[in-house]
């Protein structure tokens, strides 16, 4: 049996189930307890688990991320929520220099089983400092795993897997899609980290995407179907490790690839995918891989500039025409 759940409710179920199952799991972050979460992801969790396990922090990202790392090294399984990943930048020292490197530095004596989670990406007209995507940044770091998903059912299963995983994991959610609904199975299930999902099967072109841009890619695919173009849409779900197998298999079938990635183009996820595909599916490509990213600029406030900046269905269709020489 499945039910309709919003992304925020699916994420909450994952945390609640894992906290019931494992005493060492706790949640920490700004406004997560008494305010029920800035985006209500942790609503009601304080009531069930109390202030020992659902902890409001001051605005001190570097400090509480580091406290999470120390607690993880010493036997606990922290879930550290950032109000958005934009503010996690303050904590990058602890995530990158410590969480990611503890195992290597200690030659395996100390692991760091921690989940850093929060929304990433643009969320309306929030301007330069509140609109960034972080998949490319975090995926660049060996030692970290990176998940970025907005499908409620998969997000729940992935978060549960992440909490049980012994490595440090960064999870990117979406401010705009916490209310996004989907069917979520009843009962216990996990979704494996590192596996992409084919959201729509197709034969003419492969669209690879993640996070909220998957919905934009699907919208473009629907639009193109009306013109007889059959697009396959892949949701990466995990960014690191990257499931290039699923991408390559799809490209072998469609021979064309457009990557739809909200992050900036330079040295980003889209560049990595293009590399993998030219390396492992070179002989199958009928056109150069292309990509639709956010603009190579900061994102200003005005609506005209937001439209110009973000990927959208129209830009995706244009890119598909380009790789189809149509």
């Amino acid at each position: 049996m499945a039910r309709e759940l919003a992304l925020r409710d699916a994420l909450r179920e994952a945390m609640i189930e894992e906290m019931r199952r494992d005493e060492t799991v706790f949640l920490m972050g700004e406004e997560v307890a008494e305010y029920n979460g800035a985006y209500k992801v942790s609503k009601g969790m304080l009531d069930e688990f109390g202030p020992r396990r659902v902890i409001d922090t001051p605005i001190a990202e570097l400090g509480f991320a580091g406290i999470g790392v120390g607690a993880a090294m010493n036997g606990l399984r922290p879930i550290v929520e950032f109000m958005t990943w934009n503010f996690a930048i303050l904590a990058f020292d602890q995530i990158v220099n410590n969480a990611a490197k503890t195992l290597s530095q200690s030659a395996g004596q100390f692991k760091c089983p921690i989940v850093f989670r929060g929304p990433s990406g643009s969320a309306g007209q929030l301007a330069q400092q509140h609109s960034q995507t972080f998949e490319s940044w975090m995926a660049n770091v060996p030692g970290l795993k990176v998940i970025s998903c907005v499908d409620p059912a998969d997000s729940k299963g992935l978060l549960k897997s992440a909490i049980r995983d012994d490595d440090p994991i960064c999870i990117m959610e979406s401010e705009m899609l916490y209310g996004h609904k989907g069917e979520v199975p009843e009962g216990e299930y996990l979704v494996p980290i590192g596996k992409a999902a084919v959201r729509r099967e197709g034969t003419d072109v492969t669209l690879v995407s993640f996070n909220k841009m998957v919905l934009t890619a699907l919208e473009a695919a629907d639009e193109m179907a009306k013109e007889g173009v059959s697009a396959e849409v892949i949701d990466l779900r995990t960014i690191r490790p990257l499931d290039h197998h699923t991408i390559v298999e799809s490209v072998k079938k469609t021979n064309r690839l457009v990557v739809v990635d909200e992050s900036w183009p330079f040295a980003g996820v889209s560049a990595e995918i293009a590399y993998e595909v030219q390396k492992y599916a070179f002989d199958y490509l009928d056109a150069p891989v292309t990509r639709v990213n956010s603009a190579d600029t900061s994102l200003p406030y005005a609506p005209t500039l937001v439209d110009e900046y973000l990927p959208n269905a129209e830009k995706i269709i244009k890119a598909v025409k380009e790789v189809s020489y149509a």
């Binding site: 400092q129 200003p300 406030y301 005209t304």
Partner: protein
Amino acid sequence: MDTAVEKKKRGRKKANQYSKETYLEWYELMLRIRRFEERALMMYGQQKVRGFCHVYIGQEALAAGIESAIRKEDAIVTAYRQHGIALGRGVTSNEAMAELFGKETGIVKGKGGSMHFFSAENRYFGGNGIVGAQIPIGTGIAFAEQYRGTDNLCVTMFGDGAARQGALYESFNMAMSWKLPVLYIVENNGYAMGTSVKRTSNVTELYKIGSAFDMPSEVVDGMTPESVHEAITKAAEHIRAGKGPYFLEIRTYRYKGHSVSDPAKYRTKEEVKEYMDRDPVKQTEAKILKEGIATEEEIKEIKAKIKKEIDEAVKFAEESDYPDASELYTDNYVQKDYPFIRD
């Protein structure tokens, strides 16, 4: 404003030591901010203003008392709750409202919105959206003043929530050891989003943070422009004398929620009322009339002037254009022909 300060210095007595001009300037600025913010909220309701919008209602006395006590050449940097401070600096209601609308006539051409006004002309170094980020930045602005040998200072403002960021402690330490001309102001409005000051630390009297660095620190009533002006004047004298930074905890209150989307259920009606009873705009108006500083006529004129100004600002914002899409590629680099990736 300078003349008012001069007069104040000459005649330092306890009761009513400020001139009529000073009172009217305070009143006018506070009323401008109040009416501007009320209208901004209304425009937000009509979806003409988007994104995050944090208003200054309740905190107006800070803008007034700071501006009358410092010089135009001094710098100010603050956080995202900044419309009032920017208006105090001299950003016009037109420029500010157009910015909220995201129009090209805005103070930053529609690129910043509610959280990010900047005005080089007015020595306003911006509204920062990252909590606490402006604390070291303000310290650096002060560093540059000291480096260039001026006697200007930098007013560095932040919220009670921001006072818990590590950046504050690093900045206070360097500012003290290098005797930088920086005036730190924590606007203690009691809450950081839904978190009250007392839930963020063992030390709930924020001014005490300064003592760890031997920084002169005081608590100030933020509900009257007089008390703010007084404290800033004293601190500025200390700083300009080359004695290094000063820290003021100014106690104030935000009447509205944290931002437009916050219903502010975490505080009691009584608490909000307690502060509204000491409303800076109403208090100042009452004082002006009661002590005969100005006539009812003069107050009416100011009210009419501000009403007209804000109406015009909305009209100006409505009638202005959005920036052209090509503006996305301007102001990212100073280099004119920067080779953007445009595939």
